[in-house]
Symmetry: D2
Subunit: 301 residues, 4 copies
């Protein structure tokens, strides 16, 4: 991660001025504010602001004047009930604003989540830094042979080296040319044009603001084992932040979303037969081969 001394000074400056507020405060979140959590080789996640805590979820669910709760225990029970029964609106009452630095190809996946607010660093207006994502050798895999959009085995050390050489060389050359093109004392090409020469592993950054319900939806999809590694590590970093911010909601999310399994009507049918002692096979299951395989994996855990 690249945080310059100037940037570090700005972070420390921001953390050195506590204010008084009458709003609810999440102590677990205050400790994260402004600090840069490193992700990948040059990326980070920074919490810039937040609204609400576990109690605020309950307060909104009850539409109450005051804190709307009698005990902390009641709050956890209510939150688990809301999560289990897909009551999403109380979770929308918490909000978080993040500053994220991430490779462009990750940003392109991320932005597909539309229910969020975004301000991205503008390459029409500003000059991008010379920072490219280079995968660590243990993340350079072959195309999967079982999953058409995933990774399989690691490459050989030789192929890994060749890949990195190509990635590094191309990034360097493209960035050199980018600089040459925009040089105000040279060609002086418009920035909005010059940026088209930059590969998708260059880093960009944005402010991203989202409510807790939509954030958890994002995390369910992007912290999942099937998500691409490079976005998953961002989701994993954010999961830790959310666990500190709204611990009850996060635990309910783990139990009823991340660690939960959706059983189709065919799977439920098989399950009931198995629990009553019947031996069910792929043939007698009524599922396609692919679904049966997924069912077996789920039962093994």
């Amino acid at each position: 991660m690249t945080v310059t001394p100037e940037q570090q000074a700005e972070i420390e400056e921001l953390r050195s001025h506590p204010h008084q507020t009458l709003r609810v405060v999440s102590e677990g979140m205050e400790k994260h504010l402004y600090t840069a959590i490193p992700v990948l080789d040059h990326g980070f996640v920074r919490v810039i602001d937040y609204m609400g805590d576990d109690a605020a979820i309950c307060q909104a669910a009850r539409v109450s004047y005051g804190k709307g709760t009698k005990s902390v225990q009641n709050d956890e029970g209510l939150i688990r009930y809301l999560m289990r029964h897909w009551h999403s609106t109380p979770f929308e009452m918490c909000e978080v604003k993040l500053h994220v630095k991430l490779p462009v190809f990750v940003a392109r996946q991320w932005i597909r989540h539309r229910t969020a607010n975004v301000n991205e660093y503008s390459a029409r207006y500003s000059i991008l830094d010379r920072e490219f994502y280079m995968p660590a050798p243990d993340q350079i895999n072959a195309q999967s042979v079982v999953n058409n959009q995933g990774r399989g085995d690691l490459l050989s050390p030789e192929d890994t080296a060749r890949v990195l050489e190509m990635l590094k060389g191309d990034a360097a050359r493209c960035y050199d040319h980018y600089q040459t093109m925009i040089d105000e004392d040279g060609i002086g090409l418009a920035r909005e044009l010059a940026r088209m020469n930059l590969p998708a592993n260059i880093y960009t950054q944005w402010y991203w603001k989202v409510d807790l319900h939509n954030l958890l939806h994002f995390l369910r999809l992007r912290a999942d084992a099937h998500a691409q590694f490079e976005i998953r590590v961002y989701a994993d970093a954010i999961c830790k932040v959310v666990a500190d911010w709204v611990p009850f909601a996060y635990r309910a999310f783990e139990d009823y979303r991340m660690g939960a399994v959706t059983m189709s009507s065919q799977m439920m049918d098989c399950l009931r037969r198995m629990l009553s002692g019947e031996t069910v096979t792929a043939e007698t299951s009524g599922m396609s081969a692919r679904e049966w395989r997924e069912f077996q994996q789920v039962l093994e855990g």
Copy 2:
């Protein structure tokens, strides 16, 4: 407005416990937190939480590490520029959460603004209070004869009295029957059914959370002279809150939205001809009669 002593005690309790936070604080907003701003006869608006201030708009626009600004003066200039040129995303970086008590027919207009988060008091689960909106005599108007969806002159005192008598009598009777139907020691009808007997002037309440950009859009439409009076008073109350919360953004909103005028291409054409000394009439304007009338009104201000 009906705030019971218990509710008032809850509000005072909430205002008596300042916390420390590292987040940005808007002093203008802190003074509003939790207090109930009266609207109509039993309604209110309460600020429950907020995120961001004028500086946060600039910080997001600049995607910066620190406060992202050199001077307060620069901030106002940037905010005005963003507003003038329809850059909406930086304004989405502020968020506010309100607790609102309002008549159901107002709630039905309000909810049409979809880009917000809502938790409404549930009449399936809970019992609604006996509180109905009764318009003040100076708000009881005849149907407009020029605007198909607005109000015209005041009614005569006699007709006003008749209207209020009907509204009050029907509200009382409907609520009496509602109570009779749900009485657990009597009929015990399901609440989700009994509520269908309640007229649209009964009060409901909700938590409503929205970002500043979408809030300003709501205010532009609902604080407008053509909005129905009963929702406009809520918009007016919220305008005052926003002016205290983000004064630069609010002033820009007044200048470039509320006080601004959209001139059609035909209007611009007429305007240029008029400025060059030509006398333009309805006949030579190229506008429909209705547009010409609207143009004249706009020029008079």
Copy 3:
């Protein structure tokens, strides 16, 4: 249902003029166009327009030039795969526009689904008809004693009669007064004011347009056994329409959403223990009493 002869003539007129189009056509949907499917005592659902069919889902998923498919069988497999793995965007590529007539208290639940387009009949501009929902006697239940927001046993015939008498009497009186207030030759009160006297069982109507993904989400929640009966019958009617429109997508929806069960991580843990022969009880399950009860219900089916 109240469709006047004039309205029926308009429906028949619309159905009597087939046009030529190069767009994809769903034969199953053509037969529904414009006809009024009755719901409740005066309500209906009418299909006004639609876009796409099962093949269009696949075409978008493949981002292809042509139909993007080799065989109908492949299409169904792909659709089931997309549904099972929560790929929602291809389902967003189908759209439907409905004309719905429904009681106001149902409309208030319905509108909470924000990802749709709505044009509602305006009671500021127009006069509402004298049509109120009166529940059938077999839908007049007591408040549930196990579920705080549901219905329990049927009322006694006497109490049912009392409820209907109150509902009918209040609706009639409120509507009479509404008419008296807006009478242009009498009081002439503004319509936007007079409507506040109308109870929540009066019928309204709207045009509602939504994409298939969001429609299925709506149906999952509103065709569910826990939804209020009066909205569930609308959802049920729409389910039948969708089954005719996109039969592959609908069947996948039934298997992976409506008939599916979400097992929490605790439930999965118990399940694995049970399948390996262990006897798991409420005490040894690690679940709360409520969750254990829900788990038992799910296993029984």
Copy 4:
């Protein structure tokens, strides 16, 4: 534009099979269906499907059973009224689905419009074609000296040649390496990794579905003179399609949006003084220097 003979055959196949439908048909749109409108050097816009026409806007605004209109003239008047008074929901009742091929850096701007449905060609799953956007020489400009995010004068022929040489060389080399990395008989790198080496001028494609209101908002911003040329040409192409699809709505859009001017309260104040004969200068205008300049430009037209 690159449409292969196979693709052209698919387009012709699709256009050769008219179907019967009871839905409303826009003759102006039927002629566009499936054909590829060329944009930039390899891009295109294709209309895949549409819903509604001018009459459908009026029908929804009136929430009517039938066509909801007495005359075509009434329809145009109503549409103009709706547009002028910012009634957006009736325009949401029309929908269009486009297949677009566009450079990645254009796609990144485009996707910021969140109120649309998108299915993009997946570079995790599939292999991108060797097609890169190369600006025509008359579109290779220097950074603007008056606008921080725009283009200024054309470059010299020498600098233009140098820019194109760099762009072409880097695109070719990056793509060669991309191919080498993913070669299944060679390195066999996962596609989701290899794509990070591709510059932002490579072409991608997607299905994009949007309602008319949000499409017009997109066009207002992207067909504007301040939009980057490379997205503006797509917006211009779509404008022509919309003009054929919903001619009344499009004309109203031109008059009240594209050709319209928003006058701030300060501008309106100056205007009224000028029309009453006063000579207003920058100094006496009450505007900042920048706003005054914008005001002058607007008056000149």
